[in-house]
Amino acid sequence: MMATVAPPSSSPPDDVTSIVPRRGSRARPLFDPPIVKRAIGDSFVKLNPRAMMKNPVMFVVEAGALMTTILAARDLAAGAGVAGFTFQITLWLWFTVLFANFAEAMAEGRGKAQADTLRKTKTETNARRLRNGTEEAVPATALRSGDLVLVKAGETIPGDGDVVEGIASVDESAITGESAPVIRESGGDRSAVTGGTKVLSDWIKVQITSNPGETFLDRMIALVEGAERQKTPNEIALNIVIAGLTLVFLLAVVTLQPFALYSVAASGSGAAPSVVVLVSLLVCLIPTTIGGLLSAIGIAGMDRVMQHNVLAMSGKAVEAAGDVNTLLLDKTGTITLGNRQAVEFIPLGGVSEAELADAAQLSSLADETPEGRSIVVLAKQKYNIRGREVAEHEARFIPFTAQTRMSGVDLDGRRVRKGATDSVVEFVHEHGGAVPAELMDVTDRISRSGGTPLVVADRGRALGVIHLKDVVKGGMRERFQQLRAMGIRTVMITGDNPLTAAAIAAEVGTDDFLAQATPKDKMDLIKKEQAGGRLVAMTGDGTNDAPALAQADVGLAMNTGTMAAKEAGNMVDLDSNPTKLIEVVAIGKQLLMTRGALTTFSIANDIAKYFAILPAMFMGVYPVMEKLNIMGLRNKESAVLAAVIFNALIIVALIPLALRGVKYRPMSAANLLRRNLLVYGVGGVIAPFPGIWLIDRLLGLLHLA
């Protein structure tokens, strides 16, 4: 146990029971004025047809807008009576495209603002490069992978690397946004340092692991900026569906003209619909709502992950998080607080509880581990035994080693030891003593209940047992219940023996556990789950976690972890809070749900638009078509215009939803579906009717149509 400084955590306290993502630590207001300003400008830049091509739905709208622009110009030049109508339709078609561009620009803008902040930390620094034992000053950009540098207090670490010598407290706020310093030292799993962070005290020697331009900070900037954004698998599939629907509607509208011509000839009155009206119908029918907001949803999803201080290496990883079936959670640090606490002293034979407590405390006075300190505290609280100044005695402290598996103190002829059962029993035997028969019963009982027994002995006398207990983080049980409701299986990974593991798993309510887990066991478990068609998510920080992190579908590496772990995972939690994996899963689900909800809404909207536009189109041919005008729209122009305006405004109205994601509550898929179908499906069918009606009346009030 080497965590002398608690891992910084800027996320909300863990005792909050809901897994629903809350506002992240880096949240900005939804409509941050500078971002809005930049987004408005970008909306126009994005009109470039070459960029629009990537979005088939909006490209069709732009092409339509271009067509009506030409017609409006012609009407204007000819002084035709319909010029006002054509002009207004054209205007709103352009607005439709701009609104969609604005949504995308807003989503991107939030990332860009973040990137700008990060860039500021990328100031020119100088490095003390060590070569052949001599120190030379070089610019940080001259450093290459493999170089050795010295960083002293107050200096900025010039590049990513591993600490090879020394220990220092480091301010990583530039990366993590967390101002509490962290300890970085050579060896172990806390040796990684990131370029751009600052050494506050002491010094370290760092072996550089990345070349300029490929540093963690560079990657982070590129990611939040969305420069490398690639469409995710689901997004591609959805794009195919909406592009397909666009083609179907294009066909329905194009073939409508011949049918209209036939009808005009048959009825002998009226005229076939004008191109402007046909374009309006087309734009209203094609799924512009989802088409316009699709990329914004994806970018915003990435951004939401970032706001939670998690750096996702790709959108695909975030999407995969929503699909996860199995969560592998390390017991220590994720499910339990990183340490055990003494909760009980159980004396053996004729030993009194106070005597045991006294001996236990004595053996732990020099023990700086959280367990050791908890023993001292328990003895003080329960038996009012105060910590003693042992310096005046001839005290010799025996530290814990992996070989002896005991620690203790030799003092005034006493030899007090505490440690693993078999080690201490052996110690007692060595000193010619015997252990009471009840010892094994006591230790077994503690193990079965999920605790760890520490046996205390003084030479040949076994005094008793200290009951150490894992302290489960608050709210974990509720979280696992919610995960189960969502159909996600949780597996606790622990180095404990099966007995202890089973007890803790039962206490917190994970579905399964993997006891005495080696890195290989972990890897095998992942492969087994994946072979069964499941997607697996896990967290890790050590170098030996790296293969499993790479194998898992979602590998969340801790920022405090080694570079190898960070490279292997597809996400890095800058707060190094493994429990956050659960929130990442929720964000992934929210991303997929938002897409589904807006697609359903978009398609459901079409029904009302038919009832607005079709009667308007054909009332001249068959006056009886008025019967389809169930909204009672005032006239032809107003009906078409109202539908087009509604279609454009709904994009703007849904930007907050696209950026924030639909509301998410953990529940079973069946319940989620029922709820969302009701809101976005049935709601999508109904909502446009009053909306279009209202716009129609407003157009009348304003004398626009």
Partner: protein, 587 residues
Amino acid sequence: MTGNGLLQIGLYVAVLVLLTKPIGAYMAKVFAGERTWMHRVLRPLEAAVYKLCGIDENAEQRWTQYAGGVLAFSAVSIVFSYVLLRVQQWFPLNPQGLANVGPDLSFNTAVSFGTNTNWQSYVPETTMSYFSEMAALVTHNFFSAAVGIAVAIAVIRGFARHSVKTLGNFWVDSTRTIVYVLLPLSVAGALLLCSQGVIQNFNSYTKAATVEGAAQTIPQGPFASQEAIKELGTNGGGSLNANSAHPYENPTPFSNFVEMLMIFLIPAGLTYTFGKMVRDTRQGWALFAAMTILFLIGVFIVYSSEQAGNPILAKLGIESAATATQPGGNMEGKEVRFGIVNSSLFTVITTDASCGAVNNMHDSLTPLGGLVPMVNIELGEVIFGGVGSGLYGMLLFAVLAVFIAGLMVGRTPEYLGKKIERKEVKMMMLAVLVLAFTILGFAAYGSVAQFHKDSWVNPPGPVIANLNNNGPHGLSEILYAYTSAVGNNGSAFAGIDANTPFFNTTIGLAMLSGRFLMLIPLLAAAGSLAQKKLVPVSAGTFPTHGPLFVALLVGVVLIVGALTFFPALSLGPIVEHFLMYQGKLWS
């Protein structure tokens, strides 16, 4: 609507529900290659076919090989029929001495029967010899039905299997369909129909004198054998122009009930087969429920619209209410022995399934009564649908429904444990596009086409000169023709002279694309699905067996169909309906 009418509809649905499980379970066994009680009699026949054709019963095919088999088999049998029709006068069993059939009509007819459409641009009794009927056409009733069912089974295997590349063997699946399913059922069906008076002979046509003393020729023929497979295989092509309205094909209300049952029997049974094969019969019943709901919606619209009759006639003082002595409503084009309810029921059944047999004149239906059959076909023939094609069509919609709404549960959409991804979605959209493109494209061109004065493909002038009706009803007739062709239905509004090279060719092409451009993408999707791993079911899985999914599926079928075809339909039957109530008549 009368109580008696509703009772008959209820009886039909009840009997259908009862038959679905036994026939479905039987087919599941047949296609798994398990022994059934029919094996003792039919296994030798099956084995003989394999031996004769050199088929390895145990060989498995990838989707491409499977599709290759489907295409090769269909192509060869279509060419065979084409040739036979072109030279029928030199073959026996032609007591009327009917002439060889022309090239465009032969093409249209061979394609029509080969695609399970059975659109007939001709009058059978004056065009086809008994030999042509049996060798060129009835064979297809078996073959094309077998192709449809085989493809459905392959598509089901795409969902049922996992981590494999193969979908079964087309030659084995189609042989088993014919030997174990179609043959025994049609023999039983033909005998049942004979008992009701359907004729079966090779006689020359009977010359008779009518009551008024006019001479009348009454066609004869082997009708019972043809009639049974015509319904069972959802083919629909009659030996008589009047089809199932003719007393020789459909003499009694009971024979009518049997024929209606035979149409839905296999498509309904396949939903259960599907459930069996994917190891969750609830999934099959969900599809069955969605189909039944869509079916009943259609039945009630047609029945109520036909029973309401024509308000213009009512205004003239003609009694249109049902009484003890008369059916009331719109009896134009209907047989008295079937009345309104059994005509409405038959209309909806034959257009839900891509059968196309008719026992009444669809052209004479009220506007809304005529809208329903058209919409039924435009929805993709998925309401029970054609044998096999109905099931795989409905699976297409199920996949789309799962994809669109499935994202809303926060997971990559999955259906039956298979993730629905790019490839599947692409194939499904392709099939939807084909359907919309061919129906709307051909109908749009057909409604404004002009032919110059010495055109040989069609009489000169606008194409609407081929129509018997003006106004919106004329548009409906064109739309119905191509809808029926693409949906491989084969029923017609008639009222359109479609036996011209232009219509024969375009309708022929429409039938081909409606059949094969739909079936190939589905097989491709099945091939991709079969290779996927099975995602285990959990609380996070989109449930696809409950009422919620049924409602969603019905909604998606209706909305996708309505959104595509509503504009065209609004200028046809919908406006015609409003005009009728306004009292406007067309010549």
